[in-house]
């Protein structure tokens, strides 16, 4: 690691490296485009996903319905835009939660010796959880209770976001702990400690700025992971209910119509794939650009 954020020049070097990773640039651009489309799109598009039109059922693509319609004549493009908003929102919030927990655990374990062992054992414990089965069971058993407490959409949203966040922070924590341990031996940190800077000040002024890159990489990869997990749950029929479709749910509902209107399964699937692919490429590019020992920045 270099002490990037302190000076201007290394930042330029970072951008130069990042721009050389074509996949990451394209991925980042597309991801931004998708985010923009699902956030703004539903306001601009002519139809809403709930509009029934029994005279326009199971249509193919046309100018009025670029992705066709479903068995009630609802516009698929509108459903993709609105479903994407939920999917992306779940991905972002779950990723935020996961990164926040992972960062806190990782930095605390790295900074304070007495916290290291218990926190790392806790991390091991969470790594030993069978994530997918556990997610399925929890969501199946708890969603009605939360639905009751927080309302239909908010209840399931909170549950899924919390479950994904709580079961995916461990890698971030491990990487950050290692980074912090390495940083602690660096001269500027030992100097700061010798000057009597308190641990919290140390974290804020020296550690956090230096591990920011690692956190961003974790966040990008975490976004991809959260979107895949949510879609998998919805695909198994245990995610969002049919009245609040996400991409995973749309794909699940579409599988019954494979022979009639395959577009209903293909479009949501493509959108999930594209988003995840973009996030993964972006994450990889960022990591390579930040770490001179790896990938394209190597020579």
């Amino acid at each position: 690691m270099t002490d990037l954020p302190h000076t201007g020049a290394p930042t330029n070097r970072f951008w130069r490296r990042f721009r050389r990773h074509k996949g990451a640039v394209i991925g980042g651009g597309l991801l931004a485009l998708i985010l923009f489309a699902v956030l703004i799109g539903p306001f601009l598009w002519l139809h809403t996903s709930g509009q029934i039109n029994i005279t326009a059922r199971n249509l193919g693509p046309s100018l009025a319905h670029p992705m066709g319609t479903d068995h009630l004549g609802r516009d698929l493009f509108a459903a993709i835009l609105e479903g994407g908003r939920v999917t992306v929102l779940v991905g972002l919030v779950a990723m935020g939660l996961s990164v926040a927990i992972g960062t806190a655990v990782g930095i605390l374990a790295g900074m304070f010796r007495w916290l290291d062992a218990p926190l790392m054992r806790l991390t091991d414990l969470f790594l030993a959880l069978p994530v997918l089965p556990l997610l399925l069971v929890t969501i199946m058993l708890w969603r009605e209770k939360l639905r009751m407490l927080f309302g239909a959409e908010a209840g399931i949203f909170l549950l899924i976001v919390a479950m994904i966040g709580l079961t995916s922070w461990m890698q971030t924590a491990r990487i950050l702990r290692a980074e912090v341990l390495a940083l602690k031996n660096r001269e500027f940190v030992t100097a700061a400690t010798a000057l009597g800077v308190r641990p919290w000040g140390l974290i804020r002024r020296h550690i956090l700025p230096n591990v920011l890159g690692v956190i961003i990489v974790s966040a990008t990869l975490g976004l991809a992971n959260a979107i895949i997990t949510e879609s998998a749950l919805s695909f198994l029929g245990l995610g969002f209910p049919p009245d609040h479709p996400t991409w995973g749910r749309l794909l699940f509902d579409g599988t019954e119509y494979l022979t009639l209107t395959p577009a209903r399964a293909i479009w949501p699937g493509l959108m999930i794939t594209l988003t995840v692919l973009c996030a993964n490429y972006l994450g990889e590019g960022l990591r390579d650009a930040l770490d001179p020992r790896r990938g394209f920045g190597r020579k």
Partner: protein
Amino acid sequence: MLTYCLRRLAFSVPVLVLISFAIFLLMDLAPNDPTSNLPMSIPADTRAQLREALGIGDPLLTRYLLWCKQFFIHEPLNWLTNVTGLALGDPDRLRVLSWSARVPVVDLIAERLPQTLWVVGMSYLLGIAIALPIGIYSAYRQHGWFDHLGSFISMIGYSVPSFFLGVVMIIVFAVKLNWLPSVYDTTLRVTDWGSLMEQFRQMVMPVAILALYNAAQISRYMRASMLDNLHHDYVRTARAKGASERRVMLRHVARNSMLPVVTVIALGIPQVLAGAVITEQIFKINGIGELLISAIQSGDLPVVQTLTFLFAVLVVLFNLFADIAYGLLDPRISYD
């Protein structure tokens, strides 16, 4: 080394107890009712009787301890009895029974396991077999066209959700082309060439999808590990001694690079088993993943509890294997 193993083993036990209790608590606090799937013409008092007969009314701790006793004492004893043929203890001991099938959960799992192991095992082996050469060659010709293609494909394999790829494959190969069956036949017995081909045909799609995912992950690790090793001094020494490029790569670099990859492979097994939940759902393979989903849907708690716990045991066990294997393979690691 031995003390290290023992210490790790000792740590696993409380972890498993904690997880099993957490699983129990999670399910106890949640609302669910195994009689909700019964037809509505069954009167309410019959339902209440049924619930009582299933022991739902007992307090949590009673049921947890009973489950522990049945799972950790009775089931192993039964297994011993079956294997050795000796009558050990009371033959009528209580076992963990499924609510919907009224058979010991362990028997249900034993019936479902072969299908899952066949598909998952095959795909994992295939994935490894594909991933290692790709990883090695990609690293050897870093930035070459093969490397770029390899990373692109592995990125795709990593990012395309298996449930989407599975659905597309069914559209293409089962519905449109009608080449492959869409339903996995668990009664098929391989007796001759024809049935072997049949078995092969029905395994193609699920194995291909799981193998792609596994290969994508493992090849990335293999490539990274190779790159770490390539620039070490011993590589230069070996080349200087006049060893052939092939020999340098395979005997020296690949061998040393395998170390971290072996751990990754071992750690991946439980995740792959759990991930088969989705694949089994798509291709209608009646394996343990399908058992878990149907048990969740019908509120069959004993099956859900046992299966979830089984997955936890697998994760802990393979973590342990990976740690020990790492120590055995790499003499530089000390455990004291």
